[in-house]
Amino acid sequence: MLHLQALTKQYATGDLALGGITLTIPAGQVVGLIGPSGAGKSTLIRCVNRLVEPSGGSIYLENIDLTRLSRSQLRQARRRMAMIFQEFALVERLTVMENVLSGQLGYVPFWRSLLRQFPAEAVGNAFATLDRVGLTDHIDKRADTLSGGQRQRVGIARALLQNPDLLLVDEPTASLDPKTSRQIMRLLTDVCAEQKLAAIINIHDVALARMFVQRIVGLRYGQVVFDGPPENLDAAALTMIYGAEDWTGTMQEADWGTEPYDQLDPMTQNRLVPA
């Protein structure tokens, strides 16, 4: 569904962030993108929706080459690729509902968004999505009054309101505590499974990635150095991606972490793992 062909990005400073990445992601697949800081993870997903302009190569979403789109075509294409951010990137002074409905901005004319008169279907969808992520009680609160985990749920709901085919997720858990991180990763992978979305998830926490994704891609110096299922990610592979280090702790945590949680989400009182 998404195909990167020899994608390169060189910044104006001369730094080569991506050195010819070729990668194919089929529909509905959740990919964890790991690698040391500065390996180009963030640049890669920002090149896909062209928040960062790639310097070479092509990006195909189905059969559209995203690198050759005009401004207005790009806006249309962006609706299909929703982004989720590390620091949540909610508009702080808008309400939760406005933030979620802003996912619809690419579909509605300016006057509708200005007067907050979104189509009935979109509003219904927003309520349903807020219920799905467990924020029904916070709809009219301002985004800056929420906790980190709640904010990321708003971020996910906003992304889902775009009716995307692909989620671009940049460090979704880096600002969250370990437990909330797991809840957010579970929510993300669950909605991807429910709505058959593909996703690229940039993530620092290797153990967390191994727990939740079907495929892991390792980047180093802007090159793909690992691509495979989480089981194949052994100490040798980690050394290839990050450099030499004692990896036993990371491996053990992942084994322990795959056990299902049998507890209630404090916010929604839903079972964290559907029985």
């Binding site: 928040l51 300016f110 968004s113 200005l114 775009q162």
Partner: protein, 275 residues
Amino acid sequence: MFEHSQQIPTASEYPTTWKRPPFIRSPWLRYGLYLLALCYLVIGFNTVEINWTRVSEGIPRGWIFVSGFLAPDFLSRGGDIWQGIKESLTMTLTSTIAGIALSIPIGVGAARNLAPMPIYLTCRSIIAITRSFQEIIIAILFVAMVGFGPLAGFLTLTLATIGFLAKLLAEDIEDIDESQTEAIRSTGASWLQLINYAVQPQVMPRLIGLSMYRLDINFRESAVIGIVGAGGIGATLNTAIDRYEFDSAAAILLIIIVIVLLSEYSSGYIRNRVQ
């Protein structure tokens, strides 16, 4: 264990004093600059001529002015004062509103992160021109162009408001949190939607605060530019002083003080509320 502790130096081997490195590294330059500043101060003081006889003659004249304040006369020129106040308040309010209306597009155009280069340069030039002259000079120019009266005052204050508000708004827009803009842009939002959803919520409290502040600056300025013929309470004040009617002048000044205090308190209240 024992071997390990031997490698660490004991506390007595570390230095026990530490000083913050000075801002100017070279001691010659540092003390040289101190000396230069001191010389300048001494020479400066020696050139000030104080004519004590003029000071002593001035005191009784000052006293007449002050005693006017002790008995302000609101009534004998009551009609003129009321007329002047009305004119000033009208001038202030209309020029502030017109100024805000013009500042918003110019301010948005002068923000480097939103506007393309040609628009940015045009808007920055408009701001630079409106800021380059003091209100009194602009007022003299407009009085020459459109004649005596409040129209000249209105034009002056409108122009001054643009210089102030558009510049500060542009700077505030340049300081916004880019991640919120990025998030709205990635939904496929148009430029106007981006302004409405990502920029406006971030700058609105400051825009309201600055507008309130400008309202009370404009009232004070309206009193000053009246002196050069731009109408309002300043003209009335000027006439009163020219006729040595210090009691009426005192009444006018007291009214100005009360109005400025009122607008100060109300603008402070509003600024707190919109945070």
